[in-house]
C-alpha cells in the first residue's frame, strides 16, 4: 500500500424527509444564495421545501447552472454574491450545480482572476465561502469530495480543481428526491459511478485489501442495482443504495493508498467537448476499449476483477479477461447506454479529432503508469469504433 492522507469532513444527512434539517445545518443569521440548474427543482417542489426549511433567513436564488458548468455563467453568481454581501451557499441539484458552487465558493474571496483557480488546479485556493448541498442526482460524488470540473466556453477548456476548502460542510441526500429523474439520468448515474470505481481499482496490484474489497463491493452493488432501478422506478431502497454507492465511489476512500488511472475520463472529456455526448456515455464508450488495449499492464487486476466481480473462473487468463470486458460492456448496454463510437455516428475522423484535442491539452501521459500516450489513446479510440 502507498502512503496516503485521507480527510473528508463533509457531514452526510441521509434519508427521507431530511431537507427540513437545513434549519439546523445552515447558520441562523446566514444570508443564503441557493444555486440551481434547470427548472426541475422548482417544478417538483424541492426548491419550495428548501425555502420553507430556511425559514426567515434572507435567501437569494441563482438559476441556470448548466451541465458542464461554465465559468461564464458562474461568474454571474460571484458578482451577485459580492453585490448582495451574501455569506452562505446552498447547491440544490446534481454534480454540475455542486461543482459550480465549489468554484463560486472559492472565487468570491479569491484575490485575482478566478480562472487562475483552474489553471493551478486549486493549489492557490486559500479560502472559500461555506456551503452545503441538497443532492438530487446520484452520480458524481461531488456532494462528498473536494473536486470540481469547470468549463470555459470561450476557450473550449474543461479543467478540474481540488481544494480542501471546498468540501461541502454538509450534504443532504434524500433518495425520494431522485424518484422524478428521467431514466436517462439514472442510467448515466449508474455508469458514472461504475467507471469512477474502476478508475481507482482496475490498475495494478498495490496490496490495498480494503480499497480492493470496497471497490468490488461498489461494483457488485451497481451490477445488482442497475437493471432493477430501471425496472422499478419507484423503489426507495434501490434509489437509496444507488445514491450511497455513487457517493462512496468518489469520496477519496477507495482511491486512498492505491494507484489511480483516470485516462478513461480524460478521453471521455474530449468526446463530450467535441460531440456533446453525455459524460457517462463517453465513459461507456472508452472503458471497454481501454481495458482491451491495455490488458497487459492491467492483467493481474483484470483477472481479479473477472473473478471477484463477475465470478468468471473458467478458461485461460485471456479468455477470462475477454469475458470480463464483454460483461462490462453488456452491463452498460443493459442500462440503455451504447458503447461504440459508431453508435453515436462517429467514425475515424473522430479518432483523429480526439487525439488532436488530447495533444492540444497536454494529455500525452495518461493512466496509472503514465503510458497512455497519444498512440495508445488512438488505439483505444480505434478499438471503440
Amino acid at each position: 500500500m502507498f502512503n496516503f492522507e485521507f480527510y473528508n469532513p463533509t457531514k452526510i444527512v441521509f434519508g427521507t424527509d431530511t431537507i427540513a434539517k437545513l434549519d439546523q445545518l445552515v447558520p441562523a443569521d446566514a444570508r443564503v444564495l441557493i444555486l440551481l440548474g434547470g427548472e426541475s427543482a422548482r417544478k417538483n417542489g424541492t426548491l419550495a421545501e428548501v425555502r420553507a426549511a430556511l425559514g426567515a433567513r434572507e435567501v437569494h436564488e441563482f438559476n441556470g447552472i448548466e451541465p458542464n458548468p461554465s465559468y461564464e455563467t458562474l461568474m454571474g453568481a460571484v458578482e451577485l454574491i459580492r453585490k448582495e454581501k451574501l455569506d452562505y451557499l446552498l447547491a440544490v441539484g446534481g454534480g454540475s450545480v455542486i461543482d459550480g458552487t465549489k468554484f463560486v465558493a472559492a472565487a468570491v474571496p479569491f484575490d485575482g482572476e478566478p480562472w487562475d483557480i483552474l489553471i493551478t488546479h486549486g493549489r492557490n485556493v486559500k479560502a472559500a465561502m461555506p456551503f452545503g448541498t441538497v443532492l438530487t442526482l446520484p452520480a458524481t460524488g461531488s456532494e462528498m469530495n473536494e473536486g470540481s470540473v469547470i468549463t470555459r466556453k470561450a476557450t473550449h477548456s474543461k479543467l478540474a480543481f481540488m481544494s480542501a476548502h471546498v468540501f461541502p460542510q454538509f450534504s443532504i441526500l434524500d433518495p425520494t428526491k431522485t424518484l422524478t429523474l428521467p431514466t436517462r439520468q439514472i442510467a448515466n448515474g449508474v455508469v458514472d459511478a461504475y467507471v469512477h470505481t474502476i478508475e481507482q481499482y482496475l490498475t495494478y496490484p498495490a496490496n490495498g485489501m480494503v480499497q480492493d474489497r470496497f471497490a468490488e463491493g461498489l461494483l457488485l452493488s451497481l451490477i445488482e442495482i442497475g437493471p432493477k432501478v430501471l425496472a422499478n422506478p419507484n423503489d426507495y431502497d434501490l434509489r437509496a443504495n444507488l445514491m450511497w454507492v455513487a457517493t462512496q465511489a468518489l469520496n477519496g476512500l477507495i482511491g486512498a493508498g492505491v494507484p489511480q488511472d483516470w485516462s478513461t475520463h480524460m478521453l471521455g472529456h474530449e468526446l463530450t467537448a467535441l460531440y456533446d455526448i453525455d459524460h457517462a456515455r463517453t465513459l461507456a464508450i472508452v472503458l471497454p476499449a481501454s481495458l482491451n488495449v491495455r490488458r497487459e499492464g492491467k492483467r493481474a487486476k483484470l483477472l481479479q476483477y473477472a473473478e471477484r466481480v463477475w465470478n468468471i473462473t473458467e478458461g485461460t487468463d485471456d479468455a477470462r479477461i475477454d469475458a470480463a470486458i464483454a460483461k462490462t460492456a453488456a452491463f452498460f448496454e443493459a442500462m440503455g447506454i451504447q458503447t461504440r463510437l459508431s453508435d453515436y455516428d462517429l467514425a475515424t475522423e473522430a479518432v483523429d479529432a480526439v487525439v488532436n484535442q488530447l495533444e492540444k491539452h497536454g494529455m500525452t501521459q495518461l493512466g496509472e503508469g503514465q503510458d497512455v500516450d497519444l498512440n495508445v489513446s488512438r488505439q483505444i479510440l480505434t478499438a471503440a469504433l
Copy 2:
C-alpha cells in the same frame, strides 16, 4: 436502509515515516501534553521520534494510562493540564490511550464533575480540547471515531461516551510502529476488528448494500490477514492492511443506516470486569455462542454471511449456518484465541456471576432487537461453557 447521519472529520496520515508530519499537524505555538500507556513507546523509540517532530514546542508527558483506562488515572492528567495551562493533547498508543485522551479532552473544559460525561454518555459535552493521535496498536478504531470507554475503579463501572467534540483532529497510522507488538496483541486486534464488524453486520436485513459489501470486505480481509500476520511478523503490507481494516471497522461507515447489535460487547465487558480476560478474548468466547443461540433472529444474515464470507453454499439452511459459526470459531482458534469459558477455567458459576452483573448494570434488553434479555444472555453464556 434507515435514515442516518455520517460525519467523520479526522484526518488520517497513513504510512511509513509519517510521524515527522506532526510538525505540520500540531499548531506551532501549542503547549502539548503527550499521553502514554506503558513503557513501550519510550523503549522502542517512538516517543523520541514524536518529541523530535514536535521540535521546540513545550511538551509535557503523562504516563501510565492502563488498559481499560480509568477515571482515577485520567483525572491526574486533567489536573496537570489545568495546572500547566497546556492546550493540545497527543495520544501515543493504542485504543486505551486514545479513549483516555478523549475523556481528558472533554473533562478539562467540563463544567462540573467529569464523571457525569460518562453518566450521560457524552450528551452534556459542549467542548473539548483539540488532540491528535499516533496509533501504535491496530484494533479498536478509536483513532477515527468519537467514542470512548472509561472505567471507574472505585465503583467497578465501565461506561462509554460519544461526542462529535472528541473526534481526533488527526491520526498518524504508521504500520511500522506495530512491528514490535507482541503476537498476543496482534491476534487480539484481528479478533477485535472482526467482532466490531460483525456487530454492525450480522443482524437482520435492512437492504444496506454498501454497508453489507463493505463489512464483508473487512471480514474477508481479516480472514486473509489473520494467519499470515502471525506467520510473517515483519511483513509491512500485512500490518498496513490490518491497521486500515481495524480503522474502517469502527469509524461509523459500515454501521450507518443499518441495525447494530453490540450485545457480544456488553457480555464481553462483564467478563473482562470480573475475570480480567483480554477484551478481544471475551468477544471470541461470546460471539459463536451468541450466533448459535440467536440463529432465528439472525437467520437471513447468517445465511448471507455463510455464503459471501465463508463461501458455504451446500447443505440445508441450518447446516450452512452451523458451518459458518464453526468457521468463525475456528478462525479465532487459529489466531491462538480460545473460544470457550472452560478454556479460561470458568464454569457455571461464571454464568451466574455475569448474569448478575448484567442485571446490576441494566443490560436487560440488548441486541439489534432488544430481545437479548437476561434469559437469553444466560443461554448464550451456557452455550459458551
